[in-house]
């Protein structure tokens, strides 16, 4: 692999993690992001399930991109995604029934997750399989990071635990609001604030550097 191709692949991979992070930059897939992130375990398993579906369906969509007629492409993507969601649904049920109960209908709802359909339509259907899967992997890692960031904060404040381990002892005062839906919105807002502040600071620094070079 040449240096250029390597750099491009790395760029595809990093796109979803930072520059186009599905949770913090594109603000996509808010339904699972807000609903299942009451604990870090739930958030991680939701993220991993989405990762499997995203990578596999993007690869398959990319393989079939020359066969599928343009008119029925959305229906085809949905069937492909639904297939992998069914697989994930059964796997989670087999591995851990507790996680399956905690996530509830949101596993089946991965089918309509707009990150997956968006990646299939905007990226996988226009790129070769390897590129598409690398990009999908980066995207889903970005999604996992986003879910984990929310789930960890909500679990630490809402229950005083992280991955079920008590952090503050038995006398901890739980913040009830954090495990309720408003807590999801408040924590998401706080993370978005942090990310946009970081982004703005970076842009200001780049602008200052650019000005310095121009002078």
């Amino acid at each position: 692999m040449s240096d250029l191709a390597q750099a491009r692949t790395f760029d595809e991979f990093m796109e979803g993690i930072w520059r186009q992070n599905p949770v913090f930059v594109m603000v996509l897939g808010m339904c699972p992001t807000l609903a299942v992130t009451v604990s870090a375990v739930n958030a991680l398993s939701m993220g991993l399930a989405t990762m499997f579906v995203l990578v596999c369906s993007c690869g398959l969509v990319s393989l079939m991109r020359r066969i599928v007629p343009k008119e029925v492409r959305i229906a085809t993507y949905i069937v492909i995604i639904a297939t992998f969601v069914t697989v994930v649904d059964y796997v989670i049920q087999a591995v851990s029934l507790a996680v399956y109960d905690a996530l509830g209908a949101f596993i089946q709802l991965i089918v309509v997750n707009c990150i997956i359909l968006g990646r299939a339509e905007a990226h996988a259907s226009k790129h070769p399989p390897v590129t598409a899967m690398v990009n999908a992997l980066g995207m889903s890692i970005g999604f996992v990071i986003g879910l984990f960031a929310l789930g960890a904060v909500r679990e630490v404040l809402g229950a005083g635990t992280l991955f079920g381990f008590s952090l503050f002892g038995a006398n901890f005062q739980p913040w009830v609001v954090m495990v309720l839906p408003p807590g999801g919105f408040i924590v998401l807002g706080a993370w978005l604030l942090l990310f946009s502040a970081l982004k703005r600071r970076k842009e200001a620094r780049l602008a200052a550097q650019g000005g310095g070079h121009g002078a």
């Binding site: 503050f168 005062q173 009830v176 609001v177 807002g189």
Partner: protein
């Protein structure tokens, strides 16, 4: 040598009042000081520490957000101080200090900074802070202690001094050691709601009788509010409307519903209704500016307060009533626009507004489109 006269051409208003935001806010703070002093007299050093910590948290949060440069206002305009003092007065005196700091920070962050600073907030910041801790710590915010306890100036209420993030100590055992029964620490509203016992309205009015779990005296709050109203730092219509409609609603239900419901005086003087009506509902940024709108707004808050107190699971409803009133403020202002001077009845106004699109606009969208013909007639022609 005289300076040359300059002719300035500007749009109205031409006469500027001498009053500034700082002056108004400072006067509100002065009028709040006697109430805070009374609160400290009732509950001792716990109340003093609560007021200090909550206000400090508000000021620190305000400073942090103002420094980002995205906020209107500054630290010296006293608005964060008012938020802190009011928030502390609405919290129980034995509220853990770290939770008070959380309340203060969330009041400024969620209630004020989120909207862009002073004057842009939709909801009263102090009540947003209280709503946040009500949702986060429902047990702690419902734990009151009786006033005028012996030794209140030498020892803290044990729940005040909880470590950050830790659950507060149980005040029931502490009170039992002081020979108080569990009922002594219930607020008059909670006693009425859950026990069915009424407190005399006269006792509530002064807050001085016995060991009641009540806030500062309604008489004192009304006096301080009257000072603000007389100096025109606050509009008297809003408290009048809130108290009037709450009293009227409570009296109607009392008259029609019979002995099941408490008398209207109990409704008026218990809980935070007086404080809310005088100091929270009158927040300038979040209440209507039209005189008729103020009556509508106050009336809405009064009715909602009584309805929430009677028919919901909560004993107190002032906070949510005012927050709902705040949310309705833009709509109230829209329906209560005053008629401009000179626009008499002789000039016919158009009854219904029509929003026809400019023909060019449509043709820009679609080259072949024409202006749509009016499809809905006032008097629909009958089909022949």
């Amino acid at each position: 040598m005289t300076a040359p006269t300059r002719t300035e051409i500007r749009s109205a208003p031409h006469i500027k009042g001498p009053r500034s935001v700082e002056q108004i806010m400072a006067n509100v703070v002065y009028s709040l000081l006697p109430i805070c002093a009374f609160f400290v007299y009732q509950y001792g050093i716990s109340a003093a520490a609560s007021i200090l910590v909550v206000t400090a948290a508000c000021l620190l949060a305000e400073r942090a957000f103002v420094r980002t440069g995205t906020q209107a206002g500054s630290l010296s305009d006293f608005s964060a101080t008012i938020t802190g003092l009011l928030l502390a007065l609405t919290l129980p005196p034995g509220f853990p200090l770290w939770m008070g700091a959380v309340a203060g920070i969330s009041a400024i962050a969620l209630g004020k900074a989120l909207f862009g600073g002073i004057g842009f907030n939709v909801f009263n910041p102090a009540l947003v802070g209280r709503a946040f801790v009500q949702a986060a710590f429902p047990a702690a915010i419902a734990t009151y202690t009786p006033s005028f306890l012996p030794g209140r100036f030498t020892q803290f209420i044990p729940s005040s001094l909880a470590w950050p993030l830790m659950a507060p100590a149980d005040t029931a055992a502490w009170l039992k050691a002081m020979q108080f029964d569990a009922l002594a620490s219930a607020t008059p509203l909670a006693k009425w709601k859950f026990e069915g016992t009424l407190t005399a309205a006269g006792d509530l009015l002064t807050s001085l009788a016995g060991h009641m779990a009540v806030g500062p005296s309604p008489v004192l709050i009304l006096t301080c509010g009257a000072y603000l109203a007389l100096r025109r730092f606050m509009d008297w219509r809003i408290p009048a409307a809130v108290l009037g409609s709450a009293g009227l609603t409570a009296w109607l239900i009392f008259a029609l519903g019979g002995t099941k419901y408490p008398d209207p005086f109990f409704m008026l003087f218990s809980g935070g209704l007086i404080l809310g009506a005088v100091y929270m509902a009158t927040d300038m940024a979040t209440s209507p500016v039209t005189p008729r709108g103020m009556w509508v707004y106050g009336g809405l808050i009064g009715v909602l307060t009584v309805v929430i107190r009677y028919y919901s699971g909560l004993p107190e409803g002032v906070m949510y009533a005012i927050l709902i009133g705040n949310a309705a403020t833009p709509l109230i202002e829209r329906i209560t626009q005053p008629t401009p001077f000179g626009k008499g009845a002789s000039i016919r106004t158009r009854k219904s507004a029509s929003y026809t699109l400019h023909p060019d606009y449509i043709s820009r969208e679609e080259a072949s489109a024409k202006t749509p013909k009016k499809r809905f007639f006032k008097n629909k022609p009958k089909k022949s």
